[in-house]
Amino acid sequence: MLSVSNLSKIYGSGCGLCLELTGPGVGSNICPKCHSIVACARIDLDVYPGEIVGIVGESGSGKSTLIKLLHFDQAPTSGYAYLQGFEDGQVDMFAVSNQKKRWLRNYQLGIVYQNPNAGLNMEFSCGGNIADKLIAADWYNYTRIRSRAAELLQKTELPVQRMDELPKRFSGGMQQRVQIAKALANNPPLLLLDEVTTGLDVSVQAQVLRLIRQIQSALQIAMVVVSHDFAVIRMLTERTLVMRNGRVVESGLTDQVMEDPHHPYTQLLINSML
């Protein structure tokens, strides 16, 4: 349903040799010639309907950048992406007008950011944050918006009577639930989740993971889940990509990547987890 090919993001001026001079081979994502940062390089990624794909890698490997590129929060330096729900998957979504990109974001995508401050307006009520996403997707009727917001809070196991409170007064786990509720508001076929459980204590983590599994099995939404925590990836996904220095160094069935890693870097990463 999503097919990404050859996607790169270079922060900085770039010199034409950036991709050649960086990567896991040299152990750096900084171009020695022009000092640009190669955050993502030649990423290929396919996501099938209803599937959860995991992305793991050390800090700075390019995971969040990849998610932001897919949500049009950043513009890629090069690369293509085709989404089934857009022009039948025939048109590269990076090559279209801003208006069409907004449509894609509002109707086809949902995102949960690593940092709730990036995903929520802390000065708006929780219901207001959800309404924001609904209005962007052309919902106009106040009563319908309220009832949809209430339904989403219920679905994400948040107390409906707290709909009019500001999310900044919520706990971290609750804020992540509000983000999830907001992301689900327009029934997107693809959800992007960046470290949804990081910073939450273990029992809250477990509840959020359970919620994500329930959403996936009930709604058959496809997801890309970024985490540096293998336990999270193992619980949620069937396929995983391992990133380092902006590259995908290994990909495969999640249990195979974890129990029989082939790339030296993946082996190191797994060993360091044990």
């Binding site: 099995s217 069937e238 396929r239 069935l253 195979q256 082939h262």
Partner: protein
């Protein structure tokens, strides 16, 4: 009867890059066949490569060489060694099930939900799933007061029975069992033996790894012994 699984010349060598590319042999030139309704038992010393074989069959390990020909209802005859990830995911969902020697990470669900989910995610209605899940948990004699709690506090034997229930309830075409009786008392082994016999009658092909020879003798059709990564037939049981 035709073979459901035909393993030919299967080898697995692990290359450890962090130890100067050290090579560790998991299993070597393993070959055997399993037909519908047949139980193949594998025994052998610790570290002999038994789990390695099962994990290669499930593709948790990517085999280094050889063939694993599976007679799939979805894809026809297919070599699992070079099947795509997508095909393996589909086969795991509809045809091959695996019960690990060490218990998998259990999701945050009650025991009953775990078994119900195994059926609903394969397309069965919630009501039917609930009935079948309850019936198999009863069969495995998992005490009723454990059904609605999270399994992470379960004893080893309780977890094992839950994992068996989850893997067996949807009647896979091929079932891989790694030490399915390891932490069970004699009494709790009886329902496991009966369920294996049920599945055999229904045509499920099974490969089981055992230390428990007396249990294995009751269910096995053919017995192989693993020695230093190699498999030898130990005679018809």
């Amino acid at each position: 009867m035709s073979a459901i699984l035909q393993v030919e010349d299967l080898s697995k060598v692990f290359v450890l890059h962090s130890v100067e590319g050290k090579r560790i042999v998991g299993c070597q030139q393993v070959g055997f066949t399993v037909r519908a309704g047949e139980f193949v038992g594998i025994t052998g010393n610790s570290g002999g490569g038994k789990t390695t074989i099962l994990k290669c069959l499930y593709r948790t390990y990517l085999p280094s060489s050889g063939k694993i020909l599976f007679d799939s209802e979805l894809f026809g005859k297919i070599d699992l060694v070079n099947s795509t990830e997508r095909d393996i995911i589909a086969i795991r969902k509809h045809e091959i099930s695996y019960v690990a020697q060490f218990l998998q990470v259990l999701p945050q669900m009650t025991a009953l939900e775990v078994v119900v989910e195994a059926l609903t995610e394969r397309g069965l209605s919630y009501e039917h799933s609930h009935i079948q899940a309850s019936s198999i948990l009863r069969h495995f004699q998992l005490p009723g007061n454990l059904w609605d709690i999270l399994p992470h506090t379960f004893s080893g034997g309780e977890k094992l029975r839950l994992n068996l229930a989850r893997a067996m309830v949807w009647r896979p075409r091929l079932l891989l069992l790694d030490e399915p009786t390891a932490s069970l008392d004699e009494q709790s082994k009886i329902p496991v033996r009966d369920m294996i016999k049920n599945l055999k009658e229904a045509g499920t092909a099974m490969v089981g790894v055992f230390h428990d020879l007396s249990f294995m003798k009751d269910v096995v059709d053919r017995h192989f012994q693993m020695h230093q990564g190699q498999l030898r037939e130990a005679g018809i049981a």
